[in-house]
Amino acid sequence: MLEAIRITKRFGGLVAVAEASLHVPEGRIVALIGPNGAGKTTLFATIAGFLAPDTGEVRFLGENVTSLAPEAICRRGLVRTFQIAQPFGGLSVRENIAIGAHARIADRRQALALAEQVAAELAMTVLLDQTAAALTVAGRKRLELARALATRPKLLLLDEVMAGLNPSEVDDIVAVVRRVRDRGVTVLLIEHVMQAVMSLAEHVYVLNQGRMIAEGPPLHVARLPQVVEAYLGHGAAVRLGAQAVEIAT
């Protein structure tokens, strides 16, 4: 459904993303992981049309969408959330979600109704009349997700939607994401919370310093030496292996 082909993005002298490719099949949940500063959000921004890649191509549903504006990409069904939540602060939660709904619905009343529906799915009904600016961080993240869902997307780009949540909240959102996928929405998520990645993702891509260093099923990828090293430093895989041998003997 979504293909990023050899994306490269430079900011001045800094190469944020280098020849990164990924492929998201329809109806699957795919995760993009990697240490901080790896370029994950930059890759997302490129895919969603907020940044133009220096080289490479983005294909969505067979169409080359690389040079399209973010709003055009959203209308084709590819919606992203932001790592730092971007609510419409002065508007109520209901109005926020309704604006998402308006991506496909012109009628105001219908949009507001859909907003209530989506809020219910995310256990946000009690928050509906609150001003978005007054929400907690967790609330804002949930609002990000709700707004994106209200656009009835085909592919959802979730950027660290679990960050800052406690384990039970993470479980809630994991369940929501699974329900969303079961309804036919494809999901590509950036995540640091490994609990979520392991339980949700069917396929994982690992980005480190702008390059894709591994991909595969989550449990397999987690054990790859280059992935361990990306998170824990050079030589960590060998050290850990040696320690394991020591403990065993």
Partner: protein, 323 residues
């Protein structure tokens, strides 16, 4: 029920006003209140709803005023039709400024500055070009007849101003209830997030500025017909830009009734100041300036915002009392 009754009473009073008000002066006062409420609403479309603050709205006012006046004086065009052309002129200038500004991503202070620059450019051009009458200005020949948009008594002007105001309220109601209005609010709150949700911010802002410009243009044309005279300073000068933007700021940005309330307060307070301090040049603008500073400092949400806050306070007090 109560709201319908109140609205009905207000409408009835508004329609009967010329017959209820004996004083020509106060009728003229009402006309000014309504005209600026109308233009304040026009500014509100772009500033309050879409969040793009224009400091040079005179550019639309003057474009409309000069367009209808020149067409009338030079080509004998009926001023009523001139109103339509004024709308076209205002909308056209809006399209020009909007296209340039938004295409190049100007927001916030930069956008405010560029509107100021455009108003100044038009003022200089109007001063220099011949067919506008140059610095001397343009007089509209006295031909009193309703078909000519000139009325023997203020009543006629009053009803036109009232019609404009009602139209602006209708537009405001539409904005509150429509997808377009919701889109404008989204752009105002967070343009990037809006685009991520499929909103074409450029087109929306362009439509907003064209609507705002067209509305203000009509206001300018009416003004010209009312006073039968315009010149570059009146048409494109900073005074009218400030008076227009003060209205929604005092009344409440991005609200439907804000401009009406703001205009009433502004004109009323201005009149009061004039009575107290005498009709001295400059002093009423001092007053406007002070009002602007005070409003932004203490009541950034305008009077409607104040009312909303009082309501919330009262609700909270009630909750505490009931508990």
């Amino acid at each position: 029920m109560l709201r319908a009754a109140v609205t009905g009473a207000v409408m009835a009073a508004a329609l009967a006003a010329p017959f209820l008000i004996a004083s020509d002066f106060w009728l003229g006062f009402l006309i000014t209140v309504l005209l600026f409420a109308y233009m304040g609403m026009a500014w509100n479309v772009l500033g309050g709803y879409a969040g793009q603050f224009s400091f040079g709205h005179a550019v639309f006012f003057g474009a409309g005023a000069y367009t209808s006046s020149i067409l009338h004086v030079t080509f004998g065009l009926n001023p009523w039709i001139g109103l339509a052309f004024a709308a076209l002129a205002g909308g056209g200038v809006g399209a020009l400024i909007g296209f340039l500004s938004f295409r190049f991503g100007l927001r916030g202070s930069y956008f405010a500055l560029i509107t100021l620059a455009f108003a100044e450019v038009f003022r200089i051009l109007a001063n220099w070009v011949e067919f506008t009458g140059g610095g001397v200005g343009l007089y509209i020949p006295l031909k009193v007849h309703p078909a000519n948009l000139q009325f023997g008594t203020k009543a006629g002007y009053y009803y036109v101003a009232l019609a404009l105001t009602l139209a602006s309220l209708a537009i405001a109601a539409w904005l509150e209830r429509s997808r377009f209005g919701a889109w404008l609010k989204a752009i105002r709150e967070n343009e990037d997030a809006a685009r991520a949700l499929g909103i074409d911010a450029f087109v929306c802002k362009l439509k907003a500025i064209m609507l705002s410009g067209a509305m203000t243009g009509v206001g300018g044309a009416f003004y010209a017909q009312y006073y039968l005279y315009i010149d570059p300073g009146i048409a494109f000068g900073p005074a009218v830009s400030v008076e227009i933007l003060l209205v929604p700021i005092i009344g409440g940005l991005g609200t439907a009734l804000g401009p009406l309330l703001g205009s009433a307060v502004l004109q009323g307070a201005g009149e009061l100041a004039r009575r107290v301090m005498g009709d001295v040049p400059g002093l009423n603008l001092v007053f406007y300036g002070l009002l602007l500073v005070v409003m932004v400092r203490f009541l950034p949400d305008g009077l409607i915002g104040l009312a909303a806050r009082l309501r919330t306070l009262r609700r909270r007090a009630k909750v505490l009392a009931d508990a």
